[in-house]
Subunit: 313 residues, 2 copies
């Protein structure tokens, strides 16, 4: 058994289906570099969710995908039966650079590789998922996954700027069908034209998104729910190394928590955001998924408690 | 008696001394204009503090200062015996413009007027203040006030960019002598070279500031105290009209609260920041001090409760 966080009043957790990219990233920050390190929305989200619930990962890798990286998922008992290997190509690759203050990133190189031919097909065991995360991939692929889910699951959808610009219609279909839209402030502004996060979150709900979380990086996150609004500061990270994957980690932990609790109420979402913020703070302290994969439950619980203490008044 | 917020377990509140500017502002926002409206750091801070404690205002106005504006202070029973009137000149005047998103402001015109000759001299009744707010004025004037205070009071100090650039040494003396430094994120970055608010707040403490609050506008505020860190989101304002005075309102309400409680502990500071955030949200919903002066205790308590609810998990 991988170490999972034990939650009070929780039955055996439902499995979480995570769809997204598995990638190799080459990343430059103002202070360091990482070359061809494990990344991708599904990698971060699956590892994060695995602290709370069993995870079924859906994605594709190429012939160059290293056994030691597969091992990182296996060590946390992530179900890889729907992680396809396409021997005809290489794994999705992204080269990016963060600038001083880490608030802007630049894509230097992007190779879709095996992702160009990827069509997520869910095995029967996965189609009945009751909790699903549509991590950032092309919106038409996200829709294709949604169409295969048979049990009216609780669905979290994430995206990035490029799909807002190039596949807006398909993306809006995804977000309107999802139970919870999780976007960052830049994306929320691009989607709504509203530059203030609160205005943007409200506009997304008005446009037809059921529940919305706007992530603001170092400034925390805000939840917009029919029962009210909830605002949570970020965990004060002292050594920011690489923000890549923080959003995926947040979404994965949150959904893992909801699946573990078997509860998707406003109260459960708020509690889950506390955990998600704690777990995301680990991801940004190291390159790749290393800190995330190795941190352990005690450290997550410690940060969650500390966050609760530093926000209570 | 002006309506004051009744706090549990509070003795008769100590008076709060507020030093700062009283001004006429002409303000342009992307949506509206205000011409020669009442402004200045002491105006906002005094009105805010008056919801919690008696206020002694220290400042100067010119021959053009309108009786109806003086009335706004009197209506909230602010002690104006140390608000000098300099009949030889006009009241301090600032003309500024906010740009889309309100996160940058531009000074179009600045007339010091009577402020050029202002030397704050405290009457004996004011020198014994136990709670003092040094609102934004020239640091050498702030020092001059500090030197007149006899009872080792709890002192909150605020500033703005221009003094960081032009009177850095005097300003650092003020901040190091103050009990609590309250600055916004831009100022914190200018003071420390740290672009992240958490890093900047910690650097300010390391440099010799005892306790620090970094205000982040729509992203809330963070308190750095020897007993720990406390982070509070902003109250989600729907109709941002004019951010002028939000920081002064925050500092004034906070100090008023501490004076009313007779307590400057970490716990009291956290509680006070909840009230300060609630009161500051009123200021930004209208031009000038209008909404602030007229809101009333019930509305402040309501927002404070709502803020507490939307941050609890």
């Amino acid at each position: 058994m991988p170490a999972r966080i034990r939650l009070p009043r929780s039955p055996a957790p439902s499995p979480v289906l995570v769809v997204g990219s598995v990638a190799y990233d080459s990343i430059e920050t103002p202070h360091a570099k990482g070359e061809r390190i494990l990344g991708g929305s599904a990698s971060y989200a699956s590892l994060a969710a695995s602290y709370f619930a069993p995870v079924q990962m859906v994605g594709v890798v190429g012939h160059d995908f290293a056994a030691r990286d597969r091992k990182k998922f296996e060590r946390r008992e992530i179900d890889l039966s729907a992680l396809q290997t396409d021997e005809t190509g290489r794994t999705f690759f992204w080269r990016g650079r963060y600038h001083e203050n880490y608030n802007r990133r630049e894509t230097l190189e992007l190779e879709l590789n095996v992702f160009e031919r990827f069509h997520p097909r869910l095995p029967a065991s996965h189609q009945s998922a009751r909790f699903a995360l549509l991590g950032n991939i092309r919106p038409d692929l996200q829709l294709h996954v949604l169409d295969q889910l048979t049990e009216n699951p609780f669905v979290v959808a994430d995206t990035i700027d490029i799909w807002i610009e190039t596949q807006r219609d398909a993306l809006m279909q995804v977000l309107h069908r999802a139970s919870l839209t999780v976007v960052n402030d830049t994306e929320a502004t691009k989607l709504t034209g509203e530059s203030n996060a609160v205005a943007a979150g409200r506009a997304l709900r008005a446009s037809g998104c059921r529940t919305v979380i706007v992530k603001k990086g170092e400034h925390g996150a805000v939840l917009f729910h029919e029962d009210g609004l909830f605002a949570l500061p970020a965990y004060p990270v002292t050594e920011l190394r690489d923000p890549t994957g923080a959003g995926d980690t947040f979404a994965g932990s949150l959904l893992g928590y909801l699946a573990a609790r078997g509860d998707t109420s406003f109260a459960a979402l708020r509690e889950g955001m506390g955990y998600a913020t704690a777990v995301a703070s680990l991801t940004v302290e190291a390159f790749s998924c290393d800190r995330l994969a190795s941190a352990g439950c005690a450290e997550i619980r410690r940060r969650r408690r500390e966050l609760s203490k530093m926000t209570r008044f």
